[in-house]
Symmetry: C2
Subunit: 603 residues, 2 copies
């Protein structure tokens, strides 16, 4: 890379004039403070309550409430993907039962830190139920939220007010004053918030890292963070994702240089797979394509829409000649092409998998292709990614992934970045979010180590747990508001619960076994009409077992009927007996426990 280019890359080139959040005052001066009268005696004992509806001890479903009297602010509104033991579930969103149960509560605004699904994904599901309070967020985030909203039918228009972290934006309410600051992440317009209240100040980092050489972005605004923190931060709510990683997070600039090496080496097509939401990474790939005279094909719906929005708003820089349609692929030589695609996690229906499975009309893997996985592997996806790599190898591609070369950087602060943030903010209390419980604990250990905080100053809360702030003091209460999983499955929101899931798990393990019998009330004749097995044994290969089971059913029912005093055959009793005894019988024969479903018809 020549020096000129390098310099130009280091300079953030974005110059956008964001639409302003119109009816609020803005200033470039020192941050304003809601509780200048801090030294006066505060006789107000109404706590500010901080309550997470999701995002503690888990990844995704980020959402918390800050409440003072009957006024609430909401921060983020994300979704998470289901766990392994939740088959069929599309995703999980936070529960808003708290608001349903407390109709007096007023939601003054919803503050969104950045445009990732784990922070915006529940917007289409929850806003209508919360009577569409105004949303405050960055310009890019706004457009991405609106795009997603447009895919859901029958939704009211969202009232989204653009805030700009560079302009020292404040949003003022009677009892809250919100200030915004810029942080680095893997999508532009990522921000954190300072929440000033009558009882003290809470700083929320959002998802952040500190990158002194970001691509098409400015470094996190450390000066502003310090200025805001100078008003005293009673509680720092901090991203704890990267706590297990030593050192500083890798700069996007370093990623850029490593990707450049791959571009220099590759003689065939380059296929770069990453997350659709990693807009900074997509920008880097496009820059490199332009430098190395490659045309770019975008493969994947969400990637296309995200890039279109970012391009329209000038958050990325791309020549109009760079992007070509996939249909034009054959007009170019392999060395003239870069394919950007979704599906780096081995997701079934995403871009890369469809190429490998030959479902993509225009793009096939060919010998000499270089496939670059510019993403980490999300826990749980390891096997899927491994299969992807195997298929790619079989089809003749060379592979680069993040374990071989630093071609992916997480969007989250690592240990040294966290130390820096803690030192800049010097909070009196900390409360980690965005991490498993174990990571939150490690973050608290770090805060104690770095700032000399006491253990009780480091809050290890669970979802729903009420954290109170009164007179600059933090109390982790033992009160809880509802914060259960709300599962989305198809069109159903919240209708899949424990029982349905337990049935699915049972069915998936050993299948089911339907016994359809008819009983003649008068003659006490029993006939097994039908046995249907699904997912238990293959019926055609199990004639013997089916025959034996039928005989067993006959015996059980005859024995049961004999015992009945009058004609009154108790159907539900027969069902129970069949479930128990045939269950046991089949277990002895197979050591499997299918779900037994007796269908009893009396005539």
């Amino acid at each position: 890379m020549d020096d000129k280019k390098e310099t130009s890359l280091k300079k953030p080139v974005r110059k956008i004039v964001p639409r302003r959040y119109d009816n609020r005052k803005q200033s470039n001066k020192s941050p304003i403070s809601i509780n200048k009268a801090k030294d006066k005696i505060n006789i107000d004992n109404n706590p500010v309550k901080i309550m997470f509806l999701g995002g503690l001890g888990e990844f995704g479903r980020n959402m918390f409430v800050a409440q003072y009297k009957d006024e609430c602010l909401i921060f983020d509104m994300g979704l998470r993907f289901p766990e392994e033991n939740m088959p069929g579930v599309d995703f999980i969103i936070p529960s808003i039962e708290y608001f349903a149960n407390n109709k007096n509560l007023k939601i003054l605004g919803v503050f969104i830190s950045h445009a990732h699904l784990d922070h915006i994904g529940a917007v289409p599901y929850l806003m209508s139920k919360l009577n569409y309070p105004p949303i405050y967020t960055g310009l890019l985030t706004k457009e991405i939220i609106l795009k997603r909203q447009s895919e859901f039918p029958n939704m009211k228009k969202l009232d989204i007010r653009v805030i700009d972290a560079e302009k020292n934006n404040h949003i003022e309410f009677k009892n809250f004053l919100i200030s915004v600051f810029h942080v680095n992440h893997t999508v532009p317009d990522s921000v954190g918030f300072l929440i000033q209240t009558k009882q003290g100040n809470v700083m929320f980092t959002g998802d952040y890292k500190i990158d002194f050489n970001p691509v098409m972005d400015k470094p996190a605004d450390l000066t502003r963070i310090v200025k805001l923190a100078s008003m005293g931060v009673d509680l720092l709510i901090s991203d704890s994702t990267g706590i297990e990683k030593e050192g500083h997070s890798i700069s996007e600039q370093e990623i850029f240089q490593n990707l450049e090496v791959i571009f220099m080496r590759s003689k065939g097509r380059i296929i770069l797979a990453t997350f659709a939401s990693l807009i900074s990474r997509l920008q880097q790939a496009i820059m490199l394509a332009e430098k190395f005279n490659r045309k770019v094909i975008i493969n994947g719906y969400s990637m296309k829409t995200n890039l279109a929005i970012a391009n329209k708003l000038k958050y990325i820089k791309v020549s109009s000649k760079t992007i070509i349609d996939a249909k034009e692929i054959n007009k170019y030589k392999p060395e003239e092409l870069l394919i950007l695609t979704t599906g780096a996690q081995g997701e079934d229906n995403a871009g890369l998998m469809r190429i490998i499975n030959k479902e993509n009309v225009n793009i096939r893997i060919q010998s000499g292709d270089t496939v670059v996985f510019s993403s980490s592997v999300i826990p749980g996806n390891e096997m899927a990614v491994q299969c992807l790599k195997d298929s790619l190898t079989k089809q003749g591609a060379n592979i680069y992934h993040y374990k071989m070369l630093d071609i992916h950087a997480s969007g989250h602060a690592q240990k040294e970045d966290m130390k820096l943030m803690l030192n800049l903010v010097r909070p009196k209390h900390v409360m980690p979010f965005h991490g498993f419980y174990y990571m939150q604990k490690l973050f608290n250990d770090l805060a104690q180590d770095v700032l000399g905080l006491r253990k009780e100053d480091c809050i290890l809360a669970s979802n729903g747990q009420v954290v109170e702030l009164v007179k600059n003091k933090i109390l982790l209460t033992s009160k809880f508001i509802p914060a259960n999983y709300v599962m989305v499955d198809g069109l159903g929101v919240g209708d899949v619960g424990e029982i349905v899931l337990r049935d699915r798990q049972a069915l998936s393990k050993d299948g089911m076994f339907i016994i359809n019998i008819i009983i003649d009330r008068k003659s006490k004749d029993v006939k097994v009409l039908e046995i249907i097995s699904r997912g238990f044994v293959f019926m055609k290969d199990s004639n013997m077992l089916i025959k034996e089971t039928k005989e067993k059913v006959n015996k059980i029912i005859l024995k049961t009927i004999k015992k009945t005093v009058n004609d009154n055959v108790n159907e539900s009793y027969i069902r129970n007996i069949l479930r128990d005894e045939i269950g046991l019988f089949l277990f002895q024969k197979t050591e499997r426990r299918p779900m037994i479903i007796p269908i009893v018809l009396e005539i």
Copy 2:
């Protein structure tokens, strides 16, 4: 650690007199050769066929066949754990359809490289079907195989002949000569084999690493490997597991020193979780317990039996006073206890999970416990291990895991060890096993790089594919023998196939929907007797949907019956119509696709 101790650790202290494989000659002299007459013209065109029944492009289910004319040798007989999309399956074993289809084949012997389940796990399932050929393996492996066999009822006694790698053991057949050599792994008595044939020599590394400072073991026998290789190795079948890891594998001695640091630091109980089969690691932990005056509790059935066998055979060294019963736990102070437990992968029923879930009668996690995960996380288990860590943190334990400190070493050679092995053996062809396809490819790249082999000398085979060795030349043919998955589920071996699995997957995703109707043939009256939904929607909350569905069913059937010309209502036609139309109806209502099961009764 004082010098004396360190020295004593470095010296292998095992002195066992293994039972010898009795009716074969042994020597400490140079390896003998079956094809000394190599220079003579070989007019025999019968190939030696190498065929993997499992272990290529996957982990587990290791088994391959070496065949010359109608004589076969089998190497290893392992199982693997199911993939995510195989709910209910316990494990997968190799198919032996090839032997069932070719009754003329004689199996001269089964050679087992070491005592891990992915190399011995299929023995109880396959030996009876193969008419119990003799097994050749190390003493410890023999006893572990026998212990496992004893847990399966109605099995004939296995004929296991002990081979000792240290004694230059050869096993001679008319057309094969097998030599054994010692390698390092995570269980003692791990060996590789040289297979000499009329057509050339094949070396099989087994699972190996090269450890110059093993614990209670000797370093891999490099001298012997070189001596054996000096007869010319036409094909090296090599472990490729560690190909993605740079450098040399970590010595068990280094693990020992890091574990020692934890023992020095920990003031409470130490709970060390690892694999039951990692006998070397268990030995280390016991040594440290003895050094630091801690009693040892073993928690987990398989760990107990493995240790008992290793102890009986003097493969480990443990004072009779060290191991105590879990019932005695309260007689000792926390700092006097080490608990060795299974369950480091977060397995539901293993030792550690039962402690956390308070199902263990004697052992509970208490504040101040130090939990050490001395194992890596097997891909696919990440989330389970994360939950484990979260629960442990909540219950007050401190955690050490392999990402924080080198307290686990893989049993597999890394890149530099592989380079060493390739240089010692200098094979004419290589063929990687024990790895995904992608890893096998990387191994072949390495072999080309290190030895200057041509691409066509590096075999990238699939399970079942026939590799032929004729006159010291290797040919990857396009012939295949059956090598499909045989799934074990409960007592069933091989009865779970594609269809059963597909049903389980479908049931797990969207559940099922049973429609029970009765049709009066004469009056053409239709009655929906019952709708049963499991895993689809929660019935109690879905009255409306059930009601609408019943109406829809009625309509569909009436319309269908009307069309029938005579009384002959076609039952199977009605079933199909119901499946299609109600399936569509429910999808429109819910965007879910439950399995529709119509039960139609005509009277």
